[in-house]
Amino acid sequence: MRKVRLAPLLLILAAPAFSGPFLYVSNERAGTVTVIDTATEKPVETLRVGARPRGIHVGPDGKTVYVALSDTAREARSTADSIVAIDAVRRKAVARFDGGSDPEQFAVSRDGARLFVANEDAGTASVTDLATRKVIATLVVGIEPEGVAISPDGRWVYVTAETSNTVSVIDTRKNEVVASFLVDSRPRAAAFSPDGTRAYVTAEIGGSLSVVDVARHQVIRTIDLPGSRPVGVVVAPDGKLVWVANGHGHSVAVVDPVQGKVVATIPVGKRPWGIVMTHDGRKVYTANGVSGDVSVIDTASRKVVATIPAGAGAWGVALGR
C-alpha cells in the first residue's frame, strides 16, 4: 500500500527538475517556431507565427523570444514584415514590432531595449526601439545585408552584405555606421569572440572564414575552409574554437582560428543554417533546412548524438535561459 502512494509523488517531483533550457527553431516554410526541451532533446510545442520566420533570438532576460517575419513571395514591402515577440513562458505572441522592410537577421541590444535588423531588399539596417515599437534609425549598409552580430559589450553591431562583400560597423552609442570593410565573397553571418577582441565572418561563395580585429575593424586573416559552404557561425564560450554551419555542404566545420585550419568536419542534417552552442559549451545545435530537423552535436566527442524533428525549412536556432 505504501509503494502505491509514493509512486505518483516521485514522478511529479522529477519532471520539472530536468526541463530546459529551451531551444527555439524558426521554420521558414512551415511558418512556425518549434520549441525543444534540451534536457530531453524532444520537441514540446509548435507555435504558429505565420509568414516566413527566419532570424530568431532570445532577449537578455530570457523571457522573450524575438522572431523576424517576412513574406514568402513578394514584389515590394509586405505587411508581413515585422519582428514578433513571443513570451517564453506562456509561449504566445505578445507584441509585434516594426523592423523595417524584409527583415531577415537581427541582434538584440545587451540591455534588451533595441533591435538591430538587416533589411535585405532595402540595403539598410533598422534600429528598433522596443519600448515605442518604432524604427528610430535607418542606416545605409552594404548591398543585400544579411548577417547581424553584436559585440559582447554591446558597443558594435556588424552587418554583413552578400552582394557587396562588405561588413558595415554600427556604433550603437551613436546609431551610425562608423566603418565598413571588405571580406570574402558572399558573407552570410558574423559572430564575436566572448572577450570581444575578434569577430568571425563566414563567406559562402568564398568558402572561408575571415578573422576580424575588432579594435581596428580590420580583417587580419582569412581561413580557407576547403569544400565548404559556410553560413551560420558560433564561437565556443572559451573562445578557442569556431563552429561553422556548412549549409549546402551538409556539415559543421570546427575551426581553430589560431592555427587557421579546420580541425574537424561533422556531417549533420541537410543544409544546416542556424547554429547555436549551449552556455556551458557542451552541445551545438544546427537548424537543417532541407531535412527540417535539428542536429545535436556533443562538442567533446564531436559527434551528432540526436536528431530532433522541427518544421519545413528549419532556419534559425536560439537558446533560452
Partner: protein
Amino acid sequence: MITTRRELLLLVLGTAVAGQSKRTVRLGLLLPLEPGVELGVEEARRMAELVGVNLDVRNEGTGVAAAISRHAAKEPGSPLGSPLLIVGPVEEGSIVHPRVFHVASSPRRRREALAAAPAGARAVDWHPDLARYGAEQLNRRFEERFDLPMTEDAWRGWMAVKIAAEAALCHPEADLAQVLPTMRFDGHKGAALRFGPEDHHLDQPVYLAGPDGKLLPGD
C-alpha cells in the same frame, strides 16, 4: 576568335592613383549603355564608397572594343596593357589570349547542358525567373530599377562590372590578368564562379529555356 556586335567588352585598367587621402581606383570600361552594365556600375560605386575608395569609372563606349578583341585573337602574344573581359562566348577551340577572359559560359559547357535537353531548348547563363541562391533578389532588384526582366545579356554585363570592380578593389596594385584566374566570384548561382584555366571562360551553372523562352524545370 569570332566577335559579334552583341558581345560586350570590358577593359580593366584597375590603376590605383596615389596622392589623395581617399584612395582612388580607376576602372576603364568599353561597354554599351545597357541596364545590366548600369546596375553593375551603380553597385560597384556603392561598394567602393562603403570601403572609402573613390571609384573612377570611365566608360569609353564599344567603338574600339571589337577591334581590340580581334587584335588579341589574331595575335595571342600581343602585349595588351590591360586585361579584357569579354562578355560573350567565343567558338570552341579558339585561341586563348592570356589577358582575355570571357564572362559567358564556355561553348562546351552549353553544348553539354543541351545534350540531354528536350528539342528546341536553349542553354542560357541567366533567366529572369531564377529564384534560388539569391537569384530572386538580384532579379527583383534589376526589375525594380529598370522595369525590365534581367536577361542573359543584362546578367553578363552586371557580372562583368562586378568581377572588374572586385578584382580592382581587392587587388589594386596587382596585374589583374594574374589575379583574375585566382579569384572566386558570386553570380547569385549558388556556386563559386572562376575562370577556367584553359579556356578563360567563367565556369558557371547554365540553365535551360524552352522554345517559349520559359525556364525549364531543374533550377
